[in-house]
Symmetry: C2
Subunit: 144 residues, 2 copies
Protein backbone atom coordinates (compact mmCIF):
# COMPACT_ATOMS: atom_id res chain seq x y z
CA UNK A 1 0.00 0.00 0.00
CA UNK A 2 1.24 3.43 -1.00
CA UNK A 3 1.61 6.21 1.53
CA UNK A 4 -0.89 8.53 -0.09
CA UNK A 5 -0.20 11.49 2.14
CA UNK A 6 3.48 11.32 1.33
CA UNK A 7 2.74 11.12 -2.39
CA UNK A 8 0.41 14.09 -2.10
CA UNK A 9 3.00 16.19 -0.30
CA UNK A 10 5.52 15.40 -3.01
CA UNK A 11 3.10 16.30 -5.78
CA UNK A 12 2.16 19.55 -4.05
CA UNK A 13 5.78 20.51 -3.65
CA UNK A 14 6.71 19.62 -7.24
CA UNK A 15 3.77 21.50 -8.68
CA UNK A 16 4.47 24.54 -6.55
CA UNK A 17 8.08 24.71 -7.65
CA UNK A 18 7.19 24.15 -11.31
CA UNK A 19 4.57 26.89 -11.31
CA UNK A 20 6.88 29.39 -9.65
CA UNK A 21 9.67 28.62 -12.10
CA UNK A 22 7.41 28.94 -15.09
CA UNK A 23 5.93 32.26 -14.06
CA UNK A 24 9.33 33.66 -13.29
CA UNK A 25 10.58 32.58 -16.68
CA UNK A 26 7.55 34.04 -18.44
CA UNK A 27 8.06 37.36 -16.65
CA UNK A 28 11.64 37.50 -17.79
CA UNK A 29 10.74 36.61 -21.38
CA UNK A 30 7.98 39.19 -21.66
CA UNK A 31 9.89 41.97 -20.02
CA UNK A 32 9.41 45.29 -21.76
CA UNK A 33 11.55 48.26 -20.86
CA UNK A 34 8.95 50.89 -21.61
CA UNK A 35 6.73 49.90 -18.69
CA UNK A 36 6.96 48.04 -15.41
CA UNK A 37 5.26 44.71 -14.73
CA UNK A 38 2.35 46.31 -12.88
CA UNK A 39 1.79 48.85 -15.62
CA UNK A 40 1.91 46.14 -18.27
CA UNK A 41 -0.62 44.03 -16.43
CA UNK A 42 -3.05 46.95 -16.38
CA UNK A 43 -2.49 47.52 -20.10
CA UNK A 44 -3.17 43.85 -20.77
CA UNK A 45 -6.46 44.05 -18.87
CA UNK A 46 -7.47 47.18 -20.76
CA UNK A 47 -6.61 45.70 -24.12
CA UNK A 48 -9.13 42.95 -23.36
CA UNK A 49 -11.81 45.08 -21.74
CA UNK A 50 -11.48 48.16 -23.95
CA UNK A 51 -12.50 50.36 -20.99
CA UNK A 52 -12.82 50.00 -17.25
CA UNK A 53 -13.31 52.05 -14.07
CA UNK A 54 -10.24 52.65 -11.86
CA UNK A 55 -11.97 50.84 -9.01
CA UNK A 56 -12.65 47.81 -11.20
CA UNK A 57 -8.99 47.64 -12.24
CA UNK A 58 -7.96 47.87 -8.60
CA UNK A 59 -10.18 44.90 -7.79
CA UNK A 60 -8.97 42.87 -10.73
CA UNK A 61 -5.39 43.30 -9.57
CA UNK A 62 -6.33 43.18 -5.89
CA UNK A 63 -4.56 46.40 -5.05
CA UNK A 64 -5.94 49.43 -3.22
CA UNK A 65 -7.67 52.19 -5.21
CA UNK A 66 -4.91 54.74 -4.42
CA UNK A 67 -2.29 52.29 -5.65
CA UNK A 68 -4.11 51.72 -8.93
CA UNK A 69 -4.66 55.46 -9.21
CA UNK A 70 -0.93 56.00 -9.07
CA UNK A 71 -0.21 53.40 -11.72
CA UNK A 72 -2.87 54.99 -13.94
CA UNK A 73 -1.25 58.40 -13.46
CA UNK A 74 2.04 57.06 -14.78
CA UNK A 75 0.35 55.30 -17.70
CA UNK A 76 -1.68 58.39 -18.57
CA UNK A 77 1.35 60.69 -18.44
CA UNK A 78 3.18 58.29 -20.74
CA UNK A 79 0.23 58.29 -23.16
CA UNK A 80 -0.75 54.64 -22.83
CA UNK A 81 -4.21 55.25 -21.33
CA UNK A 82 -6.63 58.14 -21.05
CA UNK A 83 -9.23 59.03 -18.41
CA UNK A 84 -12.71 60.19 -19.43
CA UNK A 85 -15.44 61.54 -17.17
CA UNK A 86 -18.46 59.24 -17.19
CA UNK A 87 -21.27 61.32 -18.74
CA UNK A 88 -23.90 59.34 -16.82
CA UNK A 89 -22.45 59.61 -13.31
CA UNK A 90 -20.20 62.46 -12.27
CA UNK A 91 -18.48 60.36 -9.63
CA UNK A 92 -17.24 57.83 -12.14
CA UNK A 93 -14.26 57.83 -14.44
CA UNK A 94 -13.67 55.63 -17.47
CA UNK A 95 -10.17 54.48 -18.32
CA UNK A 96 -9.43 53.70 -21.95
CA UNK A 97 -6.33 52.27 -23.58
CA UNK A 98 -4.77 54.42 -26.31
CA UNK A 99 -3.47 53.12 -29.61
CA UNK A 100 0.09 53.28 -28.30
CA UNK A 101 -0.96 51.36 -25.21
CA UNK A 102 -2.68 48.71 -27.28
CA UNK A 103 0.44 48.25 -29.43
CA UNK A 104 2.58 47.76 -26.34
CA UNK A 105 0.14 45.24 -24.91
CA UNK A 106 0.07 43.22 -28.07
CA UNK A 107 3.87 43.17 -28.29
CA UNK A 108 4.05 41.90 -24.73
CA UNK A 109 1.49 39.20 -25.39
CA UNK A 110 3.33 38.07 -28.49
CA UNK A 111 6.64 37.83 -26.62
CA UNK A 112 5.22 35.75 -23.82
CA UNK A 113 3.60 33.28 -26.12
CA UNK A 114 6.60 33.14 -28.43
CA UNK A 115 8.87 31.62 -25.81
CA UNK A 116 6.27 29.19 -24.57
CA UNK A 117 5.32 28.08 -28.08
CA UNK A 118 8.95 27.44 -28.89
CA UNK A 119 9.22 25.22 -25.82
CA UNK A 120 5.95 23.38 -26.44
CA UNK A 121 6.39 22.85 -30.15
CA UNK A 122 9.00 20.06 -30.00
CA UNK A 123 7.09 18.07 -27.39
CA UNK A 124 5.31 14.86 -28.40
CA UNK A 125 1.57 15.36 -28.88
CA UNK A 126 0.88 13.21 -25.81
CA UNK A 127 2.92 15.53 -23.61
CA UNK A 128 1.12 18.55 -25.01
CA UNK A 129 -2.19 16.90 -24.19
CA UNK A 130 -0.95 16.26 -20.66
CA UNK A 131 -0.10 19.93 -20.25
CA UNK A 132 -3.41 21.06 -21.68
CA UNK A 133 -5.26 18.83 -19.24
CA UNK A 134 -3.06 20.07 -16.37
CA UNK A 135 -3.92 23.68 -17.23
CA UNK A 136 -7.62 22.74 -17.02
CA UNK A 137 -7.15 21.05 -13.66
CA UNK A 138 -5.20 23.96 -12.24
CA UNK A 139 -7.86 26.39 -13.37
CA UNK A 140 -10.45 24.31 -11.61
CA UNK A 141 -8.46 24.52 -8.41
CA UNK A 142 -7.77 28.24 -8.45
CA UNK A 143 -11.16 29.40 -9.65
CA UNK A 144 -13.02 27.68 -6.84
Amino acid sequence: MVDESEELARLASDLRVAAFRLTRRLRIESHIDEVTDSQLTVLLWLSRLERAAPGALAELERVSPPSMNRTLNVLETAGYVRRIDDPEDGRRVIVEITERGAELASTARRRRNAWLKAELGPLPAADRRTLARAAELLDGMTLR
Copy 2:
Protein backbone atom coordinates in the same frame (compact mmCIF):
# COMPACT_ATOMS: atom_id res chain seq x y z
CA MET B 1 -5.86 18.55 -40.56
CA VAL B 2 -5.53 20.55 -37.37
CA ASP B 3 -4.04 24.03 -37.34
CA GLU B 4 -1.12 23.14 -35.12
CA SER B 5 0.13 26.67 -34.65
CA GLU B 6 -3.29 27.75 -33.48
CA GLU B 7 -3.49 24.84 -31.07
CA LEU B 8 0.00 25.65 -29.77
CA ALA B 9 -0.91 29.29 -29.17
CA ARG B 10 -3.97 28.23 -27.25
CA LEU B 11 -2.01 25.80 -25.11
CA ALA B 12 0.67 28.41 -24.41
CA SER B 13 -1.92 30.94 -23.38
CA ASP B 14 -3.84 28.49 -21.17
CA LEU B 15 -0.69 27.28 -19.46
CA ARG B 16 0.51 30.80 -18.85
CA VAL B 17 -2.76 31.86 -17.28
CA ALA B 18 -2.97 28.70 -15.16
CA ALA B 19 0.57 29.11 -13.84
CA PHE B 20 0.04 32.79 -13.00
CA ARG B 21 -3.19 32.02 -11.19
CA LEU B 22 -1.67 29.19 -9.22
CA THR B 23 1.33 31.18 -8.07
CA ARG B 24 -0.82 34.12 -7.10
CA ARG B 25 -3.08 31.85 -5.11
CA LEU B 26 -0.12 30.18 -3.39
CA ARG B 27 1.28 33.58 -2.49
CA ILE B 28 -2.03 34.61 -0.98
CA GLU B 29 -2.38 31.36 0.96
CA SER B 30 1.12 31.54 2.38
CA HIS B 31 0.94 35.21 3.25
CA ILE B 32 2.67 36.07 6.50
CA ASP B 33 2.17 39.44 8.10
CA GLU B 34 5.65 39.59 9.58
CA VAL B 35 7.42 39.90 6.21
CA THR B 36 6.73 41.03 2.65
CA ASP B 37 6.72 38.70 -0.36
CA SER B 38 10.24 39.60 -1.41
CA GLN B 39 11.56 39.11 2.07
CA LEU B 40 9.82 35.75 2.38
CA THR B 41 11.25 34.59 -0.92
CA VAL B 42 14.76 35.30 0.34
CA LEU B 43 14.03 33.43 3.57
CA LEU B 44 12.76 30.46 1.56
CA TRP B 45 15.97 30.40 -0.47
CA LEU B 46 18.10 30.60 2.68
CA SER B 47 16.17 27.85 4.42
CA ARG B 48 17.13 25.56 1.53
CA LEU B 49 20.70 26.75 1.07
CA GLU B 50 21.57 27.29 4.76
CA ARG B 51 23.90 30.11 3.74
CA ALA B 52 24.56 32.26 0.67
CA ALA B 53 26.42 35.36 -0.44
CA PRO B 54 24.36 38.55 -1.01
CA GLY B 55 25.43 38.58 -4.63
CA ALA B 56 24.27 34.99 -5.12
CA LEU B 57 20.87 35.81 -3.65
CA ALA B 58 20.61 38.81 -5.95
CA GLU B 59 21.27 36.56 -8.95
CA LEU B 60 18.80 33.92 -7.81
CA GLU B 61 16.08 36.54 -7.59
CA ARG B 62 17.41 38.47 -10.58
CA VAL B 63 17.49 41.76 -8.75
CA SER B 64 20.39 44.19 -8.45
CA PRO B 65 22.89 43.78 -5.60
CA PRO B 66 21.79 47.05 -3.94
CA SER B 67 18.20 45.94 -4.02
CA MET B 68 19.02 42.62 -2.37
CA ASN B 69 21.22 44.46 0.10
CA ARG B 70 18.27 46.53 1.20
CA THR B 71 16.03 43.51 1.65
CA LEU B 72 18.77 41.84 3.69
CA ASN B 73 19.05 44.93 5.88
CA VAL B 74 15.38 44.70 6.75
CA LEU B 75 15.59 40.96 7.40
CA GLU B 76 18.70 41.36 9.54
CA THR B 77 17.22 44.18 11.60
CA ALA B 78 14.16 42.02 12.20
CA GLY B 79 16.38 39.13 13.30
CA TYR B 80 15.52 36.69 10.52
CA VAL B 81 19.01 36.52 9.00
CA ARG B 82 22.52 37.37 10.08
CA ARG B 83 25.58 38.51 8.12
CA ILE B 84 28.99 37.00 8.85
CA ASP B 85 32.34 38.09 7.46
CA ASP B 86 33.88 35.38 5.31
CA PRO B 87 37.06 34.34 7.15
CA GLU B 88 38.73 33.32 3.88
CA ASP B 89 38.12 36.47 1.84
CA GLY B 90 37.63 39.85 3.46
CA ARG B 91 35.51 41.12 0.58
CA ARG B 92 32.89 38.47 1.00
CA VAL B 93 29.94 38.21 3.32
CA ILE B 94 27.95 35.13 4.25
CA VAL B 95 24.24 35.41 4.92
CA GLU B 96 22.71 32.85 7.27
CA ILE B 97 19.12 32.29 8.25
CA THR B 98 18.41 32.50 12.00
CA GLU B 99 16.20 30.12 13.92
CA ARG B 100 13.39 32.67 13.88
CA GLY B 101 13.79 33.09 10.14
CA ALA B 102 13.73 29.35 9.58
CA GLU B 103 10.51 29.04 11.58
CA LEU B 104 8.87 31.72 9.47
CA ALA B 105 10.01 30.03 6.26
CA SER B 106 8.71 26.68 7.36
CA THR B 107 5.35 28.15 8.34
CA ALA B 108 5.02 29.68 4.88
CA ARG B 109 5.98 26.44 3.17
CA ARG B 110 3.56 24.46 5.32
CA ARG B 111 0.68 26.80 4.46
CA ARG B 112 1.39 26.61 0.76
CA ASN B 113 1.51 22.84 0.77
CA ALA B 114 -1.53 22.58 3.01
CA TRP B 115 -3.70 24.47 0.58
CA LEU B 116 -2.35 22.59 -2.40
CA LYS B 117 -2.73 19.19 -0.73
CA ALA B 118 -6.32 20.00 0.15
CA GLU B 119 -7.00 20.80 -3.49
CA LEU B 120 -5.17 17.76 -4.86
CA GLY B 121 -6.52 15.22 -2.41
CA PRO B 122 -10.04 14.91 -3.85
CA LEU B 123 -8.80 14.52 -7.42
CA PRO B 124 -8.95 11.12 -9.13
CA ALA B 125 -5.60 9.34 -9.19
CA ALA B 126 -5.41 9.76 -12.94
CA ASP B 127 -5.65 13.53 -12.65
CA ARG B 128 -2.96 13.56 -10.01
CA ARG B 129 -0.72 11.57 -12.32
CA THR B 130 -1.42 14.08 -15.08
CA LEU B 131 -0.34 16.93 -12.80
CA ALA B 132 2.77 15.10 -11.66
CA ARG B 133 3.79 14.51 -15.26
CA ALA B 134 3.02 18.15 -16.11
CA ALA B 135 5.29 19.33 -13.31
CA GLU B 136 8.07 17.20 -14.77
CA LEU B 137 7.53 18.60 -18.24
CA LEU B 138 7.48 22.17 -16.99
CA ASP B 139 10.69 21.62 -15.08
CA GLY B 140 12.29 20.31 -18.23
CA MET B 141 11.30 23.48 -20.04
CA THR B 142 12.43 25.96 -17.43
CA LEU B 143 15.65 24.26 -16.43
CA ARG B 144 16.98 24.15 -19.94
